[in-house]
């Protein structure tokens, strides 16, 4: 029983980080219809950058974190301006593969700038862990959950009530009509990519803080986070925030109980992909996604 409680706590916390990465995906999908498959690499690069700021440069967190955020905003602007802008109105195949190419590029860049494969990352959220009954809740886990919920609330409000947010949703629906209404589409794309990169940076910092290390397996973490997007529905913030903990629980409980019994390794990493396949067969548009009806 105490084991189960521990699994639930760890699973929920891991799931909230997945939710954050999923939110980063949904922002771009909702406003420009581009599927960003380079999320893992963006998360990886931001956590390495945060390591440089906090660890190598030794800055205080209140100086270093704004630096990381500014860097993320710049990165988002750069990606949109250089990579995505020339491909506006191209077929979806090009838009997906260009993010794959971008991911490859970032991966190589990270390899050049930060050649070490793994470093310690224990700069934020210091202090003893909390105890819930017999279960242990690490401080970074709690903070990850809180920050994810706050960012979710901010995004919900922004997309529902602000003029720019509504314009973003409209852009995803019909770019030409929005442009005809005089809404600057390119500005919207630019802004959505900045949001994505900031969210990826925040999740990069959090995801590195929980185990206390930065390493290159974050790329596959980014891929596993797509299970959250698929389960929750591509265009739904609510879906992302609910599906994240579900995936986290499935991962931790599945690997926690199956691992010792079967002796299989890597269950935790493969569970999200199995969930993806199951969702594809049963309900491909996810729990909260909008089912699109197509016409010729």
């Amino acid at each position: 029983m105490s084991q189960l409680l521990q699994f639930v706590v760890t699973g929920l916390a891991a799931g909230m980080v997945y939710s954050l990465i999923a939110l980063a995906f949904v922002v771009v999908w909702k406003s420009s219809g581009v599927a960003n498959l380079a999320l893992g690499q963006l998360v990886l690069m931001s956590s390495w950058f945060a390591y440089t700021m906090l660890g190598t440069a030794g800055l205080q967190w209140y100086i270093a974190i704004p630096f990381v955020i500014v860097f993320a905003v710049f990165l988002g602007w750069l990606i949109e301006r250089v990579v995505l802008r020339p491909l506006i109105a191209q077929p979806i195949l090009s838009l997906i593969t260009v993010t794959l190419g971008m991911g490859y590029f970032i991966q190589g860049l990270v390899g050049i700038v930060w050649p070490r494969s793994q470093v310690r990352f224990t700069y934020l959220f210091k202090g003893s862990p909390y105890h819930i009954g017999s279960a242990v809740l690490l401080r970074p886990e709690l903070w990850a959950a809180i920050i994810a919920l706050v960012l979710f609330a901010v995004l919900m409000v922004y997309f529902r009530y602000s003029r720019m947010g509504v314009a973003m949703r409209a852009t995803a629906d019909d770019q030409k009509a929005v442009q005809a209404c005089g809404i600057p589409v390119t500005k919207i794309f630019s802004r959505s990519w900045m949001f994505t990169c900031v969210l990826a940076a925040v999740s990069g910092i959090l995801i590195a803080s929980i185990p206390g290390k930065v390493d290159n397996s974050l790329i596959s973490t980014g891929l596993q986070a797509f299970s959250v997007v698929i389960l929750g529905g591509l265009d739904s913030f609510v879906g992302a925030i609910i599906a994240g903990p579900i995936i986290g629980l499935a991962e931790i409980i599945g690997s926690g109980y199956l691992g010792p019994v079967t002796g299989w390794s890597g269950i935790r990493e493969v569970v999200p992909f199995i969930i993806i396949i199951i969702v594809m067969f049963i309900r491909p548009y996810g729990l909260f996604g909008e089912e699109r009806i197509e016409r010729i």
Binding site: Q107, G111, V113, I277, M280
Partner: protein, 350 residues
């Protein structure tokens, strides 16, 4: 087909022929002579490289039928190659099945696995399908890692050399001829699949699947067929890879390769027969160049960061994919077509 001035088709066989004019036939013969005598002047290094290129051309040709012609994006092609490789390795190693039968069985099983993961393609497309095939890649590799009794788990398997009617393909030269022959058959088959009823149905599905369905193309059947054919090619390529390296392990088939295969068909040109050849040659030769050049650069320019050698290759691949998508989305095949027509039309511009 564009023909030079003065050349006419007088019967159906002329109309259907792939190589029509004397120049084409001459160049084809020259290419054959070059390829058949290649082991004479390629060193061992280049011969091994050529073998790898041939294998990847087979796999990418399959991916091109699936993604380039039928429009179903698959980012798990290396996983399907792994299925073929392990099937063929296990059949020849443990059950003493002849190599050719084992290779075809590897292809068939890879095709069947591909079809299973292709079933969602009936209801979803684009990004969803990309994610489903990524999931396929990771699930296949995970099964290989953990099904130790059959696949050898993390340590992999040793594979017998390919052998046909008692002749063992052990030397790089003999492997080169084997791979060359199979690559030519695969390319010829792909060229012909693309212009049959099936290939035309694929193109119709790619261009607009709803319209294709309304016109009477059975979407379920043809999409699954595309997955089967594409993954069959991958299985054949995987089997050849296993019998060339004489070992097979899960890390021969990384996810990054699946992405790179997509990059290759983008760079070469989607939906053309010659595209995969160009794409594979471009990426693999770039890879050779980088592996040869970057250590030298590293020593010559000591201020370069220490991760330069390992990071520069993925960076250049990513850059190539992005640049081609932005500046030449129809790939090198399109550029090649322009060069050919300007040669044919010279001295006029059109």
């Amino acid at each position: 087909m564009d023909l030079p001035a003065g050349t006419r088709n007088y019967n159906y066989s002329e109309d259907m022929s792939i190589f029509r004019t004397g120049t084409q036939k001459f160049l084809l013969a020259a290419l054959f002579v070059f390829l058949l005598t290649a082991p004479l002047w390629f060193g061992n290094y280049w011969l091994t490289e050529a073998n790898l290129i041939g294998i990847i051309i087979i796999s990418v040709t399959g991916l091109n039928l699936l993604t380039g012609y039928c429009g179903q994006l698959s980012i798990g092609h290396a996983g399907f190659m792994a299925v073929g490789a392990y099937t063929s390795a296990i059949l020849t190693g443990q059950f003493h099945v002849p190599f050719l039968i084992a290779m075809v069985s590897g292809g068939l099983l890879a095709g069947a696995v591909g079809m299973i993961f292709g079933i969602p393609s009936l209801r979803v497309k684009g990004f969803y399908l990309a994610i489903a095939t990524i999931a396929a890649q990771f699930i296949i590799i995970w099964i290989i890692q953990n099904w130790t009794s059959v696949t050898g788990g993390y340590s992999g398997l040793t594979v017998k050399p390919a052998s046909i009617f008692g002749f063992d393909f052990v030397t790089p030269t003999s492997k080169f001829y084997l791979i060359l022959a199979i690559t030519i058959i695969a390319l010829f088959a792909a060229r012909n699949i693309a212009r049959t009823r099936v290939g035309r149905a694929f193109v119709a599905i790619r261009d607009n699947d709803l319209a294709a369905e309304v016109m009477g193309v059975n979407l379920f059947r043809y999409k699954l067929m595309a997955f089967f054919i594409g993954c069959f090619y991958a299985g054949i390529a995987g089997s050849l890879l296993a019998h060339t390296n004489l070992t097979v392990a899960y890390d021969y088939f990384p996810f990054t390769d699946s992405v790179l295969y997509i990059g290759m068909i983008i760079i070469g040109g989607l939906g053309t027969t010659i595209g995969p050849i160009f794409g594979v040659l471009f990426i693999e030769l770039l890879n050779v160049l980088v592996t040869k050049l970057s250590p030298a650069l590293q020593t010559a320019l000591p201020w370069l960061p220490s991760g330069f050698t390992s990071g520069i290759a993925p960076m250049l691949f990513g850059l190539a994919i992005i640049l081609f998508l932005v500046f030449e989305p129809r790939g090198m095949a399109h550029r090649w077509g322009l060069i050919k027509s300007s040669y044919r039309l010279w001295p006029f511009s059109y």
